[in-house]
């Protein structure tokens, strides 16, 4: 008797469970779709989205990139290449800088490796091209007129060449110690 009741209960529960599922999906049939139709509607992407790469400038309008090769070294697909050179004032720069966006996987490691915050990823992801060679971006394609995500940062105020300003003039840097006066 008990077993029979249990069987009935099991069958009832199974049927109720099924009905519940079917009811849930049926209700969803009349709900408004949540789809965002892409080319017509473009969602505002977060500032830190990782897509097309840019080379930024510091607040003074100078190129931030010092051609240290860190981004090119850390790049897992080796899509960044450059040449380093030195300016008359002792500051390093890249005469040419090339990113092959056909190979870039937008991992953002270059951005993390960059000591001067020069290379940055932007939310602009619509980079599709019919010809793969047009995806190779040269320095003039990459260079922008602003500071990207860090407008006020200037690497040379914190570190770097001292030819112009002299030792101990960087922000948060102690004055150089006079060895002669520091004797016990």
């Amino acid at each position: 008797m008990d077993r029979k009741r249990n069987l009935a209960l099991v069958v009832w529960e199974a049927l109720a469970g099924l009905a519940q599922g079917f009811a849930t999906t049926f209700i969803h049939l009349f709900r408004r779709p949540i789809t965002e139709e892409y080319p017509e509607y473009k969602r505002e992407l977060p500032e830190r989205s990782r897509a097309r790469i840019i080379l930024t400038r510091d607040p003074d309008g100078d190129e931030r990139c010092v051609a240290c090769y860190l981004c090119s070294a850390v790049c897992p697909v080796s899509c960044i290449s450059m040449q380093s050179a030195q300016r008359a004032d002792g500051r390093r720069f890249a005469p040419w800088f090339r990113i092959n966006f056909a190979r870039c996987i937008y991992c953002g490691l270059c951005e993390e490796a960059c000591p001067t915050l020069a290379i940055q990823l932007t939310p602009d992801f619509e980079t599709c091209q019919y010809d793969i060679l047009t995806l190779v971006a040269e320095k003039e394609d990459l260079l922008v007129d602003h500071g990207g995500k860090n407008h006020d940062y200037n690497f040379y105020r914190y570190a770097g060449v001292t030819v112009l300003t002299g030792k101990g003039t960087h922000i948060q840097e102690a004055k150089p110690v006079d060895l002669k006066s520091n004797l016990p």
């Binding site: 599922g21 079917f22 849930t24 999906t25 049926f26 969803h28 049939l29 709900r31 408004r32 779709p33 949540i34 789809t35 139709e37």
Partner: protein, 331 residues
Amino acid sequence: MSIWIIGFVILLVKLGIVLLGLLLLAAYLVYAERKLLARLQIRLGPNRAGPFGLLQPLADAVKLLTKEDVVPNQADRLIFLFAPAVVAATALLIFAVVPFGRDWVIGGRQIPMVVADLNVGLLYVLGLSSIGVYGVALGGWASNSKYALLGGIRGAAQMISYELSLGLALVPVVMLAGSFSMVDIVAAQSRYPFLLVQPLSFIIFFTSAVAETKRIPFDLPEAENELVAGYHTEYSGMRFGLFFLGEYVTMTVLGSLVAVFFLGGWRGPLLPPLVWFSIKVLAVVFVMIWMRGTLPRLRYDQLMHLGWKLLVPLALLNIVITGGVMLWLSA
């Protein structure tokens, strides 16, 4: 002689209309399924090709026809090329015995709204759906791929198991109608559809029919998260299209079989027969799509358990009860 020719022409016209209608219905069933499934998941579904995406089936057909027809290395070439045709052809042939309207009378001639009224129509249906298994099993085997082979084996096992309950569920219908002919079965439901007297039979038949079409929750032969695409993994282009077509035609055909056996076929008040028939078929198909949007896939042992330990005994019990009640009523 002239009577023979007229009959032949009428047959050809009927064949053409049925074939065209069935293929068109199958194509738009794909669209309807994608659209409905999308709405069940609060998405939009295809809406790019033409207004409301209505040209999507056309775009799909063009795509499939222009794709390369790849035959895998060391595949059993002949069987590989032949298998999709078996699936599509058997699915289309089943519809030959399905009556879809009242007899037309034109110029004193009676034109039955069925391609062929076989006196063993029901057995013909079961036989053809058994042949359809060959398409799945051979296609999977000939592909020379593990995934396809596993899909083919599962397909064969599943379809043979569920064929049994499919056939047994129809025995009470035959007992009630007293005939294997589909036209007679529809005629026997002139007062009430068999659904009212055979609800258990209906549930068993419908479940088995869904298993026969290899649809969720019985889509183990093509379980895409285990077997890539199951038995049609290696197929491309229009051969894959034929498998796809076969599946959707089978869906329509089994919908119409449910309508014929349990819902009274083309019979219904007020509306013309063809409209009633379409409504019934589409209602069954809608439930199939709804099921796909709701249920998860069964495990293989659960599938076999359900088939052999539940549906077959229930169907046998149903036959015995139906026979008993019929004897009691006639006595």
